[in-house]
Protein backbone atom coordinates (compact mmCIF):
# COMPACT_ATOMS: atom_id res chain seq x y z
CA UNK A 1 0.00 0.00 0.00
CA UNK A 2 2.83 2.37 0.92
CA UNK A 3 4.59 1.75 -2.38
CA UNK A 4 1.48 2.62 -4.36
CA UNK A 5 0.82 5.75 -2.31
CA UNK A 6 4.39 6.95 -2.74
CA UNK A 7 4.27 6.19 -6.46
CA UNK A 8 1.03 8.19 -6.74
CA UNK A 9 2.64 11.06 -4.83
CA UNK A 10 5.77 11.04 -7.02
CA UNK A 11 3.69 10.92 -10.24
CA UNK A 12 1.43 13.71 -8.96
CA UNK A 13 4.43 15.82 -8.01
CA UNK A 14 6.01 15.36 -11.45
CA UNK A 15 2.72 16.29 -13.16
CA UNK A 16 2.38 19.42 -11.01
CA UNK A 17 5.99 20.48 -11.63
CA UNK A 18 5.59 19.86 -15.39
CA UNK A 19 2.35 21.87 -15.45
CA UNK A 20 4.04 24.69 -13.53
CA UNK A 21 7.06 24.73 -15.85
CA UNK A 22 4.76 24.71 -18.88
CA UNK A 23 2.81 27.68 -17.49
CA UNK A 24 6.05 29.60 -16.83
CA UNK A 25 7.39 28.77 -20.30
CA UNK A 26 4.14 29.86 -21.99
CA UNK A 27 4.06 33.12 -20.00
CA UNK A 28 7.70 33.82 -20.86
CA UNK A 29 7.20 33.04 -24.56
CA UNK A 30 4.04 35.18 -24.61
CA UNK A 31 5.91 38.08 -23.01
CA UNK A 32 8.80 37.79 -25.48
CA UNK A 33 6.47 37.47 -28.48
CA UNK A 34 4.23 40.37 -27.49
CA UNK A 35 4.79 43.25 -29.86
CA UNK A 36 6.69 41.14 -32.42
CA UNK A 37 6.11 42.48 -35.88
CA UNK A 38 4.85 40.95 -39.13
CA UNK A 39 3.21 42.46 -42.20
CA UNK A 40 0.64 45.22 -41.55
CA UNK A 41 -2.92 44.87 -42.88
CA UNK A 42 -6.13 46.85 -43.10
CA UNK A 43 -7.82 44.64 -40.46
CA UNK A 44 -6.64 42.46 -37.57
CA UNK A 45 -5.65 39.03 -38.79
CA UNK A 46 -4.35 35.72 -37.48
CA UNK A 47 -0.97 34.13 -37.96
CA UNK A 48 -1.52 30.41 -37.62
CA UNK A 49 1.60 28.34 -37.00
CA UNK A 50 1.19 24.68 -37.85
CA UNK A 51 3.13 21.74 -39.21
CA UNK A 52 2.60 18.40 -40.90
CA UNK A 53 3.21 16.55 -37.64
CA UNK A 54 0.51 18.52 -35.81
CA UNK A 55 -2.63 16.45 -35.50
CA UNK A 56 -4.56 18.73 -33.16
CA UNK A 57 -4.06 21.49 -35.77
CA UNK A 58 -6.16 19.53 -38.24
CA UNK A 59 -8.67 18.03 -35.83
CA UNK A 60 -9.30 21.05 -33.59
CA UNK A 61 -7.54 24.28 -34.59
CA UNK A 62 -8.48 24.41 -38.28
CA UNK A 63 -12.21 23.80 -37.65
CA UNK A 64 -12.05 26.56 -35.00
CA UNK A 65 -10.39 28.95 -37.46
CA UNK A 66 -12.97 28.07 -40.12
CA UNK A 67 -15.69 29.33 -37.74
CA UNK A 68 -14.21 32.83 -37.82
CA UNK A 69 -16.02 34.46 -40.70
CA UNK A 70 -14.28 37.07 -42.80
CA UNK A 71 -11.02 36.91 -40.88
CA UNK A 72 -7.73 36.63 -42.73
CA UNK A 73 -5.74 33.63 -41.52
CA UNK A 74 -2.12 33.35 -42.65
CA UNK A 75 -1.07 29.73 -42.33
CA UNK A 76 2.62 29.31 -41.56
CA UNK A 77 4.60 26.08 -41.58
CA UNK A 78 6.62 26.45 -38.37
CA UNK A 79 9.35 24.09 -39.56
CA UNK A 80 9.74 25.57 -43.05
CA UNK A 81 9.51 29.20 -41.87
CA UNK A 82 11.71 28.89 -38.84
CA UNK A 83 12.74 32.55 -38.68
CA UNK A 84 9.13 33.72 -38.42
CA UNK A 85 8.36 30.98 -35.88
CA UNK A 86 11.36 32.02 -33.77
CA UNK A 87 10.24 35.64 -33.86
CA UNK A 88 6.96 34.63 -32.19
CA UNK A 89 8.69 32.13 -29.88
CA UNK A 90 6.62 29.25 -31.24
CA UNK A 91 7.53 26.29 -29.03
CA UNK A 92 4.38 24.26 -29.52
CA UNK A 93 1.87 23.62 -32.27
CA UNK A 94 -0.64 24.98 -32.97
CA UNK A 95 0.20 28.57 -32.11
CA UNK A 96 -2.13 31.36 -33.13
CA UNK A 97 -1.16 35.03 -33.06
CA UNK A 98 -3.76 37.78 -33.32
CA UNK A 99 -2.07 40.57 -35.25
CA UNK A 100 -3.14 44.18 -35.13
CA UNK A 101 -3.58 46.15 -38.36
CA UNK A 102 -0.18 47.75 -37.71
CA UNK A 103 1.40 44.29 -37.91
CA UNK A 104 2.11 43.99 -34.18
CA UNK A 105 1.28 40.84 -32.21
CA UNK A 106 -1.56 41.56 -29.79
CA UNK A 107 -2.41 38.09 -28.47
CA UNK A 108 -0.37 34.90 -28.64
CA UNK A 109 -2.00 31.52 -27.95
CA UNK A 110 0.30 28.55 -27.47
CA UNK A 111 -1.68 25.36 -27.99
CA UNK A 112 -5.24 24.98 -29.21
CA UNK A 113 -7.28 28.18 -29.07
CA UNK A 114 -11.06 27.79 -29.44
CA UNK A 115 -13.04 30.00 -31.84
CA UNK A 116 -14.71 31.94 -29.00
CA UNK A 117 -11.33 32.93 -27.56
CA UNK A 118 -10.00 34.01 -30.95
CA UNK A 119 -13.22 35.90 -31.66
CA UNK A 120 -12.86 37.81 -28.38
CA UNK A 121 -9.20 38.59 -29.08
CA UNK A 122 -10.05 39.80 -32.60
CA UNK A 123 -12.81 42.01 -31.19
CA UNK A 124 -10.29 43.49 -28.73
CA UNK A 125 -7.87 44.05 -31.60
CA UNK A 126 -10.58 45.82 -33.59
CA UNK A 127 -11.63 47.95 -30.61
CA UNK A 128 -8.00 48.75 -29.89
CA UNK A 129 -7.45 49.97 -33.42
CA UNK A 130 -10.73 51.92 -33.29
CA UNK A 131 -9.61 53.60 -30.07
CA UNK A 132 -6.21 54.38 -31.58
CA UNK A 133 -7.83 55.82 -34.68
CA UNK A 134 -10.20 57.87 -32.52
CA UNK A 135 -7.28 59.15 -30.48
CA UNK A 136 -5.33 60.22 -33.54
CA UNK A 137 -8.37 61.72 -35.33
Amino acid sequence: MNTQLWALAVAGFVVLVAAGLEAVRAARARRLAAGAVAAPASEPYILYFTGESCTICRTHQEPALAKLEGVRVDKVDAIAERELAERFHVYTLPTTVVMGPDGRALHVNYGYAPATKLDRQLAEARNGSTLEHAATA
Binding site: T3, V10, A11, V14, V15, E52, S53, T55, T59, I79
Partner: protein
Protein backbone atom coordinates in the same frame (compact mmCIF):
# COMPACT_ATOMS: atom_id res chain seq x y z
CA UNK B 1 6.21 14.07 -46.17
CA UNK B 2 2.72 13.47 -47.58
CA UNK B 3 -0.38 13.23 -45.46
CA UNK B 4 -2.23 9.96 -45.38
CA UNK B 5 -5.41 8.80 -43.68
CA UNK B 6 -5.04 7.86 -40.03
CA UNK B 7 -7.97 6.30 -38.22
CA UNK B 8 -8.04 8.25 -34.95
CA UNK B 9 -10.37 5.71 -33.37
CA UNK B 10 -7.50 3.20 -33.53
CA UNK B 11 -5.32 5.71 -31.68
CA UNK B 12 -8.03 6.28 -29.07
CA UNK B 13 -8.43 2.52 -28.52
CA UNK B 14 -4.65 2.26 -28.13
CA UNK B 15 -4.62 5.07 -25.54
CA UNK B 16 -7.57 3.50 -23.70
CA UNK B 17 -5.68 0.20 -23.63
CA UNK B 18 -2.60 1.86 -22.14
CA UNK B 19 -4.56 3.70 -19.44
CA UNK B 20 -6.63 0.62 -18.56
CA UNK B 21 -3.63 -1.72 -18.39
CA UNK B 22 -1.59 0.59 -16.16
CA UNK B 23 -4.60 1.19 -13.89
CA UNK B 24 -5.33 -2.55 -13.60
CA UNK B 25 -1.64 -3.18 -12.79
CA UNK B 26 -1.52 -0.33 -10.28
CA UNK B 27 -4.77 -1.07 -8.45
CA UNK B 28 -4.33 -4.84 -8.78
CA UNK B 29 -0.87 -4.64 -7.21
CA UNK B 30 -2.50 -3.48 -4.00
CA UNK B 31 -3.91 -6.98 -3.63
CA UNK B 32 -1.70 -9.14 -5.83
CA UNK B 33 1.83 -7.86 -6.47
CA UNK B 34 2.67 -10.21 -9.41
CA UNK B 35 0.03 -8.45 -11.54
CA UNK B 36 2.69 -5.77 -12.06
CA UNK B 37 3.96 -8.06 -14.83
CA UNK B 38 1.37 -6.26 -16.96
CA UNK B 39 3.70 -3.26 -17.13
CA UNK B 40 6.62 -5.02 -18.88
CA UNK B 41 4.06 -6.78 -21.07
CA UNK B 42 2.56 -3.42 -22.04
CA UNK B 43 6.06 -2.11 -22.80
CA UNK B 44 6.61 -5.06 -25.14
CA UNK B 45 3.21 -4.52 -26.80
CA UNK B 46 3.91 -0.82 -27.40
CA UNK B 47 7.44 -1.33 -28.67
CA UNK B 48 6.43 -4.20 -30.96
CA UNK B 49 3.50 -2.16 -32.26
CA UNK B 50 5.78 0.78 -33.02
CA UNK B 51 8.06 -1.21 -35.29
CA UNK B 52 5.53 -3.75 -36.60
CA UNK B 53 2.01 -2.24 -36.73
CA UNK B 54 0.49 -5.71 -37.35
CA UNK B 55 1.66 -6.61 -33.83
CA UNK B 56 0.07 -3.55 -32.18
CA UNK B 57 -2.32 -5.41 -29.88
CA UNK B 58 -4.84 -2.65 -29.12
CA UNK B 59 -4.92 -1.34 -32.68
CA UNK B 60 -5.41 -4.86 -34.02
CA UNK B 61 -8.21 -5.36 -31.48
CA UNK B 62 -9.83 -2.25 -32.95
CA UNK B 63 -9.33 -3.25 -36.59
CA UNK B 64 -10.26 -6.94 -36.14
CA UNK B 65 -12.97 -6.79 -33.45
CA UNK B 66 -14.27 -3.37 -32.43
CA UNK B 67 -14.54 -1.76 -35.87
CA UNK B 68 -16.06 -4.70 -37.81
CA UNK B 69 -18.70 -5.20 -35.11
CA UNK B 70 -19.54 -1.50 -35.06
CA UNK B 71 -18.60 -1.16 -31.39
CA UNK B 72 -16.25 1.74 -32.19
CA UNK B 73 -16.90 3.90 -35.23
CA UNK B 74 -13.96 4.78 -37.47
CA UNK B 75 -12.73 8.38 -37.53
CA UNK B 76 -10.40 8.82 -40.49
CA UNK B 77 -8.37 12.02 -40.42
CA UNK B 78 -5.85 13.38 -42.92
CA UNK B 79 -2.75 13.02 -40.81
CA UNK B 80 0.75 11.63 -40.55
CA UNK B 81 1.21 8.38 -38.62
CA UNK B 82 4.88 9.07 -37.74
CA UNK B 83 4.30 11.40 -34.73
CA UNK B 84 1.77 8.94 -33.26
CA UNK B 85 4.14 6.02 -33.75
CA UNK B 86 6.91 8.06 -32.18
CA UNK B 87 4.68 8.85 -29.18
CA UNK B 88 3.77 5.18 -28.83
CA UNK B 89 7.42 4.17 -29.00
CA UNK B 90 8.29 6.77 -26.40
CA UNK B 91 5.58 5.36 -24.13
CA UNK B 92 7.04 1.89 -24.70
CA UNK B 93 10.55 3.06 -23.82
CA UNK B 94 9.33 4.73 -20.61
CA UNK B 95 7.41 1.60 -19.66
CA UNK B 96 10.50 -0.50 -20.34
CA UNK B 97 12.51 1.75 -17.98
CA UNK B 98 9.63 1.52 -15.51
CA UNK B 99 9.77 -2.30 -15.76
CA UNK B 100 13.51 -2.31 -15.05
CA UNK B 101 12.93 -0.08 -12.01
CA UNK B 102 9.99 -2.09 -10.65
CA UNK B 103 12.13 -4.60 -8.75
CA UNK B 104 14.90 -2.44 -7.26
CA UNK B 105 12.90 0.82 -6.84
CA UNK B 106 9.19 -0.06 -7.11
CA UNK B 107 8.05 3.47 -6.21
CA UNK B 108 9.88 4.98 -9.19
CA UNK B 109 8.87 2.13 -11.48
CA UNK B 110 5.20 2.55 -10.63
CA UNK B 111 5.40 6.35 -10.76
CA UNK B 112 6.89 6.20 -14.27
CA UNK B 113 4.14 3.82 -15.41
CA UNK B 114 1.52 6.17 -13.93
CA UNK B 115 3.05 9.09 -15.83
CA UNK B 116 2.76 7.16 -19.09
CA UNK B 117 -0.90 6.51 -18.25
CA UNK B 118 -1.46 10.19 -17.44
CA UNK B 119 0.02 11.25 -20.79
CA UNK B 120 -2.07 8.65 -22.63
CA UNK B 121 -5.15 9.93 -20.81
CA UNK B 122 -4.38 13.55 -21.75
CA UNK B 123 -4.11 12.44 -25.38
CA UNK B 124 -7.32 10.42 -25.10
CA UNK B 125 -9.36 13.12 -23.39
CA UNK B 126 -7.92 16.34 -24.81
CA UNK B 127 -6.19 15.16 -28.02
CA UNK B 128 -2.98 16.70 -26.72
CA UNK B 129 -0.14 14.40 -27.69
CA UNK B 130 3.00 15.17 -25.70
CA UNK B 131 5.03 12.66 -27.73
CA UNK B 132 3.96 14.43 -30.94
CA UNK B 133 5.15 17.75 -29.47
CA UNK B 134 8.52 16.18 -28.70
CA UNK B 135 8.54 14.93 -32.32
CA UNK B 136 7.95 18.53 -33.45
CA UNK B 137 10.75 19.81 -31.22
CA UNK B 138 13.15 17.20 -32.59
CA UNK B 139 12.12 18.19 -36.12
CA UNK B 140 12.67 21.85 -35.28
CA UNK B 141 16.13 21.01 -33.97
CA UNK B 142 16.82 19.17 -37.25
CA UNK B 143 17.30 15.83 -35.49
CA UNK B 144 14.47 14.15 -37.41
CA UNK B 145 12.53 15.02 -40.56
CA UNK B 146 9.28 16.25 -38.97
Amino acid sequence: MALTTVDHSALKVNQTGIVATVLVAFIGSLFFRPILVLIPLLAVVLLLGTFAPQLALFKQMYFKVLKPRGIVKPRPVQDRPEPHNFAQGLGGVFLAISSVLLLPVPVLGLALALLVAVLAFINLAFSYCVGCQIYYQLGKAGLIHA
